[in-house]
């Protein structure tokens, strides 16, 4: 299962999504009312566990974390960085 699907499943299971179909990759998780600030901490905890990355303090921005697509892109970027670091 790709990153997007795993994220969506986690969000649907752990937060209140009135219509799961309405949660698309670019749905803003905060402004849509699905996730609040404590919920965002849970999402950060999930992606750290699930994808083995470390979210630094300075990375907790909407650019990285505001939608499923953005989180997926962020996870990809971090994973590549980690792989590169291991390879070097």
């Amino acid at each position: 299962m790709d990153v997007q699907h795993r994220l969506k499943r986690f969000i649907v299971e752990n937060f209140y999504v009135s219509e799961a179909d309405a949660l698309s990759g670019d749905t803003h998780l905060i402004t849509s009312g699905i996730v609040d600030s404590t919920g965002m901490l849970e999402i950060i905890g999930f992606i750290e566990r699930e994808f083995g990355i470390q979210v630094d303090d300075g990375e907790t921005t909407p650019e990285n974390l505001s939608s499923i697509d953005r989180i997926a892109a962020f996870v990809d970027k971090k994973s590549v960085g980690r792989a590169a670091a291991r390879a070097s």
């Binding site: 009135s18 402004t31 009312g33 996730v35 609040d36 600030s37 965002m40 907790t60 909407p62």
Partner: protein, 518 residues
Amino acid sequence: MNAVPQLHDFLIETAQKKPSAEALTCQGKRLTYGELEARSNALANGLLRRGVQRGDRVMVFAENSPEAAIAFWGVLKANAVVSMVNPLTRGDKLAFLLNDCRATALIAARGLWRVVLEAVPRAPSVKLVVAAGDDPLPMSDTELPGLVTLPDLEAGETRTSAPPRKNLDIDLASLIYTSGSTGEPKAVMLTHRNMLTAATSISTYLELEGRDVILGVLPLAFDYGLYQLIMATKVGARLVLERDFAFPAQVIARVIEEKVTVFPGVPTLFARMAEMKSLDPQAFALVRAVTNTAAALHVKHIEHLKATFPKARIYSMYGLTECKRCTYLPPQDLDKKPTSVGIAIPNTELWLVDENDKRLGPNQVGQLVIRGATVMRGYWERPEETRKKLKAGPLPGEVVLYTGDLCRLDEDGYLTFVGRMDDIIKCRGEKVAPKEVENVIVDVPGVKEAAVIGVPDEVLGQAVKAYVVLEQGATVQEREVIKACQRRLESFMVPRTVVFVPELPTTDTGKIKKSGLT
């Protein structure tokens, strides 16, 4: 000063003095005091034209935004009573609130429209719905009564003056909803005089000035969040509105960019910051005051705050919506009395009583009583609950506030919060009535009874924990219970853990004994 002081005089006077000064900034939008004054005038005139009358209740349902600030002042200028509603509120609850105060109008952010569509058709008192935000309205929404967009409402209205002043300073300015132990939220009635007094007292001891830049990251629906707007306007400071603390790095970047000097927060927010190891204290070199409310700071968070905000005075404060604020700890006393929430705020008196209403001396634990012009007018249309809180004071005819909080005063007159007399939980600085959560859980098919308690939590203050007894033969998953709560309750009320038990401990009279639960 106007012979009939009103809360919105803060805006009128500041806009007169410095119309081109920036009043607030939010997500790239900037608004001067002149613009805030003009747009709130137009909104007030528009509300009046559409039938909002003196004393009508108008709810504002929005995230922190310029429109929410305009709406707050505009409703007051229309001689109406403003109630800011938490944007996390779900449809059922919004309908309850609208019906409870029989709101005439609702000003709501477009982003929250799904909830509005669920609630408004069930609230017959609502005659006017104002949509705030830039997105166009879908055609299907036209069934909402008196639907109009905020720009359309403001268009063509007088911007230079508000409708004629009808209220006295003893009339209601605001209703602030708070959780009640019966499980139904109740509205704290605050007059213009209440709020003028509180804003003056707090802004004086915080020494707020026109050159301050105040961070507004707490929701405007939370009373201390709202007071950031009120106090910034009073002193002519600039408010940096952020919608929440979901993206800490963004908020911190804004603090630096906007040169924030005053940083108000709650323990949960400061606990989150304490987890951020890479914070550079240089980043906060301009912050001169850090203010905490909702619950006492942990001593270890005080240490962290001192390291993070090297130049700031740290104010530990305590209060309740019913009187806004009770005490503050003068920053110079923080080292001497780190666990105290301080002394009475200016223009307030306090004392402690035992169960026979006898005043207590130092180092005895008793109920805190508050006297002063900040004390609420009562709970909206709840005379019985009002009588429990407002009782006769020293002067003939006056009432004082019995807070329901157990406290202790030391020999120097410094107050320490001990606990609550009821079972209200404080999670993330917000009040949670166990009864309200239990009602939702018991509605889940298969659930026989439920008991909800607060358990200590490093970040949340208290976390909500539910004990659930199932009907015979029923199978219910933890997830189903949590989902039901997420669907109907604000997120801070949703249990973090659900424990299924065969039965709940009871007292001799058969009531659930929560002291047996941990």
